[in-house]
């Protein structure tokens, strides 16, 4: 025992004797006004943009960040309890730009936008910090997007492929499955060499708790960080949350790894920025958003990138989410973010309530990177899928009026009906790419024409089980990633063998 005691005393002595008494000059200011999470501070003549400022209050220290530098005062957004701050309190400049902890220790954790843990799993042990605002990688550091992100969602992987380093917007009304797509995508990244960051901006904490539980059940928290700024969080924390999520992703990018970041959702982010801007008395523009609301999102999404080999070859893929009001795509924020991103997945209420889930609208959804981000096998089977799906919907609406249809149209309608049945997919059940290739191959080659529409999903489920039993085909597709004659031959035999086992085929 005594040795331990001696050791501690010795350590303490060393620590205290090593402590140097020094007085350094600090830049200070005084609080002029404090209201609604915003403080106006005089003095601080040397304050930097987005510098951390510390308020010395009677109830301890409160931090804030300089956002407005004016001639006589500094506008500060306050993190934490602003009611503790009183007029005349001292404010100290720390000479540090706002930064968050980053590193492997954050994986599997739920943190707030400042990187403090919210999951009760203890302190986050990391010594690395990244600034939350960073200039996006320049053009010479980048590479074209060419590797796929497998979302595991049949409709998306076939029609609207997403590549590593792409920014694909998920847009639609409330309660229509926007978050579900993002979560399924995160779940499907297991074993795909991908880290994930889910940023919840202004979401209900109960919803986020559900999401975390689902991710844990699926084993997806092993590679995921959740940044949570809940609905009750102040606008200042909501405002910085996507940037801090991006900073956490950039750590892995710099290590040459691939990261997927989901910003759920950016409409609430824009609203929180509007609140801050109006309180800071910046002039309002369209829909009362400030003039720089475009830059707000463009500087965030521009940080997603695919770096070339010389710069590590990592990537950040962004899936921003935007909530529209009554399907209005032409509102201010949706048009802004549509123009920033490399494509969008548009979810439609009509489809959703008809039971087509995920309710992806084939006509309005695009991926500007296109088929560069698909494996060759998928490219071959799903090449014209988007066109066909869009044509079917128009044709189906038209065919309601007349019963006399020519054979060609009838065939197209039949194929389309089955295609839409295949697009249907349950939540939390992402599908591996080899099985997707198989089912689309079945469809485009007419092997499904004799399956009744209402039996398509049963047929599909059975086919996957059958393929799992004879798994050499799936293995071949996964290894070669393209459809050669050998694979096609195996595929054909497997399909015809399977079809013998089902009894509902129409002769």
């Amino acid at each position: 025992m005594s040795t331990t005691k001696d050791f501690i005393v010795e350590q303490l002595k060393e620590e205290i004797s090593g402590f140097k008494v020094k007085a350094t000059e600090q830049s200070v200011g005084k609080v002029l006004k404090i209201f609604d999470g915003i403080a106006l501070v005089s003095g601080l003549s040397e304050a930097m943009m987005s510098e951390i400022l510390v308020f010395k209050t009677s109830q301890g220290e409160v931090t804030g960040v300089a956002l407005n530098l004016e001639e006589n005062q500094v506008g500060v957004i306050v993190f934490g309890d602003y009611t503790a701050i009183k007029e005349g309190d001292e404010v100290i400049a720390t000479k540090r730009i706002l930064e968050v902890p980053v590193g492997e220790a954050l994986i599997g954790r739920v943190v707030d936008p400042l990187g403090d843990p919210l999951d009760g799993k203890g302190k986050i042990n990391t010594t690395k910090f990244y600034p939350i605002e960073k200039i996006a990688p320049g053009v010479i550091t980048r590479d074209p997007v060419k590797q796929p992100v497998q979302t595991g969602i049949k409709a998306i992987d076939a029609m609207i492929p997403i590549g590593r380093g792409q920014r694909e917007l998920i847009i639609g009304d409330r309660q229509i499955g926007k978050t579900a797509i993002a979560i399924d995508t995160i779940i499907n990244q297991k074993g795909q060499n991908m880290k994930c960051v889910y940023v919840a901006i202004g979401q209900k904490e109960s919803k986020v708790a559900n999401i975390v539980t689902k991710l844990e059940e699926a084993g997806a928290m092993e590679y995921t960080t959740v940044v949570l700024a809940g609905a009750s969080t102040s606008a200042s924390l909501l405002y910085i949350s996507p940037y801090s999520g991006c900073a956490m992703a950039e750590y892995f990018l710099d290590k040459g790894e691939d990261v997927l970041v989901v910003y759920d959702d950016l409409s609430k982010h824009a609203v929180s920025y509007r609140e801050i801007s109006l309180l800071l008395r910046r002039p309002p523009g369209r829909e009362a958003y400030p003039g720089d609301v475009f830059y707000l999102h463009s500087r965030l999404l521009e940080r997603s990138c695919k770096l070339n080999k010389e710069y590590g070859g990592g990537s950040i893929t962004a899936l921003p989410i935007i909530e529209t009001q009554a399907g209005d795509l032409s509102a201010y924020i949706p048009t802004n973010v549509i123009s920033i991103t490399d494509g969008q997945i548009f979810l439609e209420p009509d489809l959703f309530y008809k039971g087509n889930r995920p309710a992806v609208n084939a006509g309005l959804s695009v991926s500007r990177v296109g088929s560069a981000a698909q494996i060759k096998a998928m490219k071959k089977v799903a090449g014209k899928m988007r066109l066909e799906a869009a044509q079917y919907r128009e044709l189906a609406a038209f065919a309601q009026f007349g019963s006399d249809l020519d054979v060609d149209t009838k065939n197209k309608l039949n194929r389309g009906e089955r295609l839409y049945e295949i697009f249907k997919q349950d939540q939390y059940q992402p599908l591996e790419v080899a099985k997707q290739v198989l089912i689309y191959y079945v469809l485009i080659n007419g092997f499904m024409d004799d399956v009744p529409v209402e039996k398509v999903r049963e047929f599909e489920a059975g086919l996957y089980k059958y393929a799992d039993l004879h798994d050499e085909l799936l293995k071949m597709i996964n290894d070669k990633k393209e459809l050669d004659e050998e694979i096609e031959k195996t595929m054909k035999t497997l399909i015809s063998d399977y079809k013998i086992t089902v009894d509902y085929l129409v002769k």
Partner: protein, 133 residues
């Protein structure tokens, strides 16, 4: 257009510079009337503050606050004034001294929105933070 505190201070400074005491008194009276007419009397304190800053700047003076636990020796005060002169190039330094027993020892110097905290209290707090982290 709203007149800023700084603009008020500047115009007052211009009005009284190079005038006799009698004239200054009159100018200040007129200045008060203008403030009243503009409904800006409530900003009096801020305007006076701006005026003091302007005066200091124009005359190369510097106001500084010095809080200490005990009355400082003249030798120590001299060092502090020398430090301030070197830092700010001020010609004259107005040191307002205050005794604050809570500091335990040492002093805190405040000038131009800067602070030099050499108090024992601050050092103890820093030591506490260092050991507890």
């Amino acid at each position: 257009m709203k007149i800023s505190n700084k603009q008020y201070a500047e115009s007052l400074y211009e009005a009284i510079s190079g005038k006799s005491d009698q004239e200054i008194k009159k100018s200040i009276h007129n200045f008060g009337l203008i403030l009243m007419r503009q409904n800006d009397l409530n900003r009096g304190t801020e305007i006076i503050e701006s005026f003091q800053k302007l005066w200091d700047k124009e005359h190369g003076e510097l106001s500084a606050e010095l809080d200490s636990a005990r009355e400082l020796e003249p030798e120590a005060k001299k060092i502090i004034i020398e430090y301030l002169t070197k830092k700010t190039n001020a010609l004259k330094i107005n040191l307002q001294e205050k005794i604050n027993k809570k500091l335990l020892g040492g002093f805190i110097l405040r000038y131009n929105s800067r602070v030099l905290d050499g108090s024992l209290l601050n050092n103890l707090v820093n030591l506490k933070n260092k050991i507890s982290n």
